[in-house]
Symmetry: D2
Amino acid sequence: MINVMIYNEFVHELKDEKVKAVYPDGIHSVIKSFLEKDSSIGKIRCAVLEDHRQTLSKEALDDTDVLVWWGHMRHQEVDDEAVARVCRRVLDGMGLVVLHSGHASKPFKALMGTDTHLLRWREAGEKVRLWNIAKNHPITRGLSETFTIPHDETYGEPFGIPNPDELIFLSWFQGGEVFRSGCTWRRGEGKVFYFQSGHETFPIYYQNEVQLVITNAVKWACPVERHCVADRGKGNTPALEQIRN
Amino acid sequence: MINVMIYNEFVHELKDEKVKAVYPDGIHSVIKSFLEKDSSIGKIRCAVLEDHRQTLSKEALDDTDVLVWWGHMRHQEVDDEAVARVCRRVLDGMGLVVLHSGHASKPFKALMGTDTHLLRWREAGEKVRLWNIAKNHPITRGLSETFTIPHDETYGEPFGIPNPDELIFLSWFQGGEVFRSGCTWRRGEGKVFYFQSGHETFPIYYQNEVQLVITNAVKWACPVERHCVADRGKGNTPALEQIRN
Amino acid sequence: MINVMIYNEFVHELKDEKVKAVYPDGIHSVIKSFLEKDSSIGKIRCAVLEDHRQTLSKEALDDTDVLVWWGHMRHQEVDDEAVARVCRRVLDGMGLVVLHSGHASKPFKALMGTDTHLLRWREAGEKVRLWNIAKNHPITRGLSETFTIPHDETYGEPFGIPNPDELIFLSWFQGGEVFRSGCTWRRGEGKVFYFQSGHETFPIYYQNEVQLVITNAVKWACPVERHCVADRGKGNTPALEQIRN
Amino acid sequence: MINVMIYNEFVHELKDEKVKAVYPDGIHSVIKSFLEKDSSIGKIRCAVLEDHRQTLSKEALDDTDVLVWWGHMRHQEVDDEAVARVCRRVLDGMGLVVLHSGHASKPFKALMGTDTHLLRWREAGEKVRLWNIAKNHPITRGLSETFTIPHDETYGEPFGIPNPDELIFLSWFQGGEVFRSGCTWRRGEGKVFYFQSGHETFPIYYQNEVQLVITNAVKWACPVERHCVADRGKGNTPALEQIRN
């Protein structure tokens, strides 16, 4: 059973009527509700900006296999020690699924080492067409070659990420942009997936294909063992072989 | 002409008689002296831990194409603002050549996003054999398939780096270890090369093959233009194309 | 349930007393006997050089999820049409696990597009130490950081493969060589794993760690669906979007 | 000085009035005329389907640094021995720049090992917008982030290529497709670049940005030395190191 933690900033949904109308209980509640339908997923916990210093505790993270992250306007208010705990756990095997504007979140930036907030963007509610370019990949299980999202924020290249280990989705936007909208990386022993879809003003996390991608990604990101630390010995390790010269 | 900055911690050479005997004027002086023989290399400046807050100034880094980094025991004393300036410049195109124990330096760790200090190690003066696995690569120009270093510190896998974009050298160590000893990555617009050889107690930077690798790496890491910032527009970028639906 | 086909040349075991003593019923029989202990593995069929035109039929391959390949001296006698059928199935999703001297087999060469037979080698029964550099990977599940094989043929870099998608094992050989001994690639929709261990004169396929690697690799290589052909439409595909300009 | 060979099928230009109007002396003549303006480019030779058995001789290829390939409808008529000579030279260091429908050519398919002819396509003269996602790369030197081609054949994902070593361009097509339109791979010691633009019915090879990309690519693909064969010793290579156990 996969233990999941969902972090959602949960600010827009409280302050912006338009967002509240779409996600009255927060984006995290919608994500939780579709993830819990999958029989391989065990405990699901949620953390929000307000309580994240406690909910993203060492104990909770140690008991987590995959962390899903959605944040947007308040990245700077996320506690640096909580970020360090998250990154530590990813390096020790915890999976991380970063959604939409989480590209600019502290954990994703720290793990990538680059300006992942850099991209072109436009809030214009444009149509997006996603192309599945990794047919035989656990993340695309059950998806066909292409699907559309009627309205989303536009993100465009050049996207300031390191070269992905695997490219899963490429997106076409109505206004002329393209985007590497589904990418994977390994960082330490942890697996990271970034998925671009999901602006807060549109009901994107209610869409079947999007729910399938996120559910698949959680299962893919789950480590072989919850804690996967490689053994390097301590300090000056003794030689394993004896040679003459 | 390529402008180079060499950072060397320059502590061992002052305090440890054994190291002083090998590098009386510091590792940076030896690196400078072989780099300046290459006609494509222009200005070469040096920075040491003692003066790095000034020598790694924004102005100096803005005028640098490639930064070479050697550090070992005093990584923690490197100023965080200087590290931020270095990382910023790499993301904007400056090349970075990280040597030996620089694997645990702040800039390398920040740019990789992983525990790059993690590896097996042993100070035993073992023989190392490097294998060139990228024959037609600018970094190996002039090298044959294999060469040895009579004595170096042993570094062994698993090495906590992200998947390299290119693998250039693999090393065999006398005591049973192997190591990805020459690796490249792109980070933002900058190119990064890590090269494992060069423990301070051995005259490794006087060895021809090692000098050739570092000289080649500096030329390879030099950006197409000194400052390579991609244009993403500002804020909400206007649509480039007009579509009907 | 994963359907497996094992191809073994099965010539050495019949002609060479030394090999016959180690693998009296053929290498394929030993591989079959440990694979069939795994509950996720279904039908296991075997093909040998002698009968491969029939046993590697389209029907059999269409019913196969993962093909394991061992060959050495008679690669040239493998039928080109059978090779084409194998490659076709890999591109449509079938997994391929290539063992030891299978690096020079026709299917592996065709799928890689390079001189995969190129490497240094020595039949000297040297000790090999394998290093697991991908702790949280399905192929290394249950393995520690390093294990040895007392005697194997030596393979050394430079190995004429394309850049692997993932590097799983690196090997150290007693005589000074290193080798990328566990590598993965995607080709079309199929997953390919090359594993270096397994010279015919040594009881390597009886060793626990080796059996674990091969069993894990078969499970990893199994496609999401047995046939994973992506839909690209036929001929001139109609436009999906209508734009003005 | 870089010696270049340009292969062009040269059939459309002779038979189709529309194409003849655009390229009266053949696509190769136009490519030759802009390449020869670059001071780093030396001898430029051309081969066409009609004469390729002679013009792509071993002697000519041995004297070539980079081969540019354009073909479309007559891929099957290219001689298998000529293809083998081309692939051999790429593996030994010759650069290969494959243009447009050359994705389905014999040399590209053989070197990639996959169904590189698989993609979505539409002859509709749609507008294409290319995005440069590798700012500090020799192939994009002098280009801005995006440029358009007023009319080209549409190519769409999923494209049946192996994971590229580097992704240089992504294209947006008017009708809803996206495409990895600029990709690099290393094969053996040779560098390969695929560039999607250039349908025969449009004056695409007269466009400045396209000429710049191809000129840059030729310089990038040029090997460090014309012949870059790695030395692996012959047969059973002697051990380089002597160890006790």
